[in-house]
Symmetry: C2
Subunit: 302 residues, 2 copies
Amino acid sequence: MDEFDLINQYFGWGQGIGDDCALVLINNDKQLATTVDTLIEGVHFPQNTSAQDIAYKSLAVNLSDLAAMGATPVFFTLAITLPNINKKWLENFSNALKTLAKQHNIALVGGDTTRGKLSITINATGVVDKNQALLRSGAKIGDSIFVSNTLGDAALAWQQIQNQQIPSNLLLQQFNRPKPQIELAQSLLGIANSCIDISDGLEQDLSHILAQSGVGASIDLQTLPLSKVVMQYITKTQDWCVALAGGDDYELCFTVSPTRIHHIKSIEKDLNIKLTKIGVITEKIGLKILGLQQNCQSYRHF
Amino acid sequence: MDEFDLINQYFGWGQGIGDDCALVLINNDKQLATTVDTLIEGVHFPQNTSAQDIAYKSLAVNLSDLAAMGATPVFFTLAITLPNINKKWLENFSNALKTLAKQHNIALVGGDTTRGKLSITINATGVVDKNQALLRSGAKIGDSIFVSNTLGDAALAWQQIQNQQIPSNLLLQQFNRPKPQIELAQSLLGIANSCIDISDGLEQDLSHILAQSGVGASIDLQTLPLSKVVMQYITKTQDWCVALAGGDDYELCFTVSPTRIHHIKSIEKDLNIKLTKIGVITEKIGLKILGLQQNCQSYRHF
């Protein structure tokens, strides 16, 4: 059972479940977008991860969820479970959290501390103009499918860590310090028809867009944007799963109708970001991956 | 180091830290009140606690924080860490959560599931009219100090559990199913000068009011409202700490100025609730407890 099934089956009575954030109407003009993510030592980050990297990633993954909806970050709460009080660790954690919070103008407004195995739960809340949020359910037949930057770097780092190898600094940076694509998402408001952040792997996350939009897609392996090191790894191993099913990229996957596609070039230029067309939304249900010879196992929460 | 010191020292750069909820202005009339609490198996509830009781308490403690501020519950998120998928357990958990959520008209809007030691983090958000929230910082010299219902029942239950005794159903009910005092808090808006929920023990929680209001207080042990079973326990042991320092009561402690004290009787009657005056706010800094012969150790998060 994956997380999606579990939530649907047992918590389907909740409202707004099924997007990166829940939307709550707060007045006639604005909606709150709220999201929560837990990071557990040994599950979501290796045991020897620095306090700074843990703090950064705990907030970044939530900012990424806000980004996926096109929401502007406003405030967050922090529930932290600590095995003990390590002053240096707490200082490092707090400073890194503060730095990222300041960068994205999001205020820490409350928290809870408990004793136990190291675990961090952040609930981040943003605002978005009413009915303007980027949703998973808006993809239309004929839309072009885009992803930002490159795919698979974080997954390759994680794989190397698990195999007792030491990833390159670049890979580690992508794994520990994923950049929440807040600015990109803001630029996509009114332009993209649907959007998701790639936290569980492109295949799984794009499939969420397809399921909720009631459409299919065809993407081409050869068009996936890859960093040099991931490209070398795939050339050697033919293991495309690192790019297709690797989690933790936190890039955005979004769809744009043909009439608005000309905006993409200027967004790329304005934000100095790489946006790559990887396929199209089709009428035929399902995700067709041209060139794929293997089955990939996407990240499962259970 | 207690939780309060820890948060102040390392996360003091956050906004609004120091009340039961953080307040965030959302428009000209309303403020959001948001709070987060984590419950961990073996720390906040015994290992054999039922899924229903865990669900109830996880949400109830957060509703209690909203109550302490006089906020009306609106929505919550659930981050749950599970050791495995037990369908019966999840069904029971979900149903109990839904029942309490419906009672208080609060919507589940999002969540995260992860694998690990059983732990539940709920972030609950409510609304309150701008500048009307009940704060810890509003106590005035001469205010009467009140508490709702009785003190020490949950702490006595917890003590008995830890001593391998089986608490009475009444005590267990207080421990596992504390009633969030939402209605009482709503009635206190515009009447109480300050308010807190008693989650860490009366002595510690009242001391937060005193510290943040820059005042002192004198309370009288003999006036503390006690259930029959707690009174019997104290008569036998003279252990007043169970009522003074026992956590988990989730009753409200609030202060009312002499000019508004006549409202209390009608609130008691309207809500069919017991409100007991236990002392007064004084100019002299510190908490004086008349009749106390022992030192109590309040609940510490660390």
